[in-house]
Symmetry: C2
């Protein structure tokens, strides 16, 4: 099990929009990511829906819609919908309600799982695209 690479690709796309000052078509971007343009358009569609990029039908090129420092990795993570809200961990359905453990296990475990997920998301919240771009610039 892994979290979909859509997340990493989303970060890649946004970083490229900042660093490549040419017109960034889905084909250009696909060349950098090394995948096909349709997939890029799909992910860009998600980033657009989250108000992170500007792009128009028929018009070549996507652009960032916010400053780099205003976009956190959590924004990207949520935009590409790799994990449903509070559902990083799944809990088995229908444990036996006639068993003391089965009856209570779900509600006991759920808050623990959510707090683990939130701890992970908090790290993403504190890293911005600016951090990523600076790090790449350093290389």
């Amino acid at each position: 099990m892994t979290i979909s690479s859509r997340f990493a690709v989303g970060i890649h796309i946004l970083t490229l929009l900042e660093l490549n000052k040419e017109i960034n078509t889905s084909e250009t971007i696909a060349g950098s990511v090394n995948t096909n343009p349709a997939l890029i358009r799909k992910i860009i569609g998600m980033l657009k829906k989250a108000d992170l990029v500007e792009v128009h039908p028929g018009k070549a090129g996507a652009k960032l819609k916010k400053g780099l420092a205003e976009i956190t990795l959590l924004d990207v993570y949520q935009a590409v919908e790799v994990v449903s809200e509070n559902e990083l961990f799944s809990i088995h359905d229908h444990p036996n309600p006639d068993c003391f453990v089965g009856k209570n296990i779900q509600q006991t475990i759920e808050p623990i799982f959510i707090s683990a997920q939130l701890a992970m998301e908090k790290v993403l919240l504190h890293v911005t695209l600016e951090d990523v771009v600076k790090e790449i610039d350093n290389k």
Copy 2:
């Protein structure tokens, strides 16, 4: 995408071993979890490999091999192999090495992803089965 319910089932099984003082066969346990015995045996096999339970071929019943307070949820998480080490997040393969972004994106993103994963695992490290059992006892 979600982390397999094997993790939740693993916790359920260990909790049951503590609270149900009868002999816990794979069929008994399957009745509480509400799944089938073969799946339970498979998960118990993983817990055994991680030295968390004791169980013998042909001999009915599994038992905890450690004290409740000594088993963290991280131990269970790792035992049931829901996520490979440092690979909660996946990064797209083969970004274009001729592109400045493509060339550097993987090594830039990886440490961020790992630290997010570690933050999540740290929460699991600080919750023990004893906490889970006490919480269930409170209900």
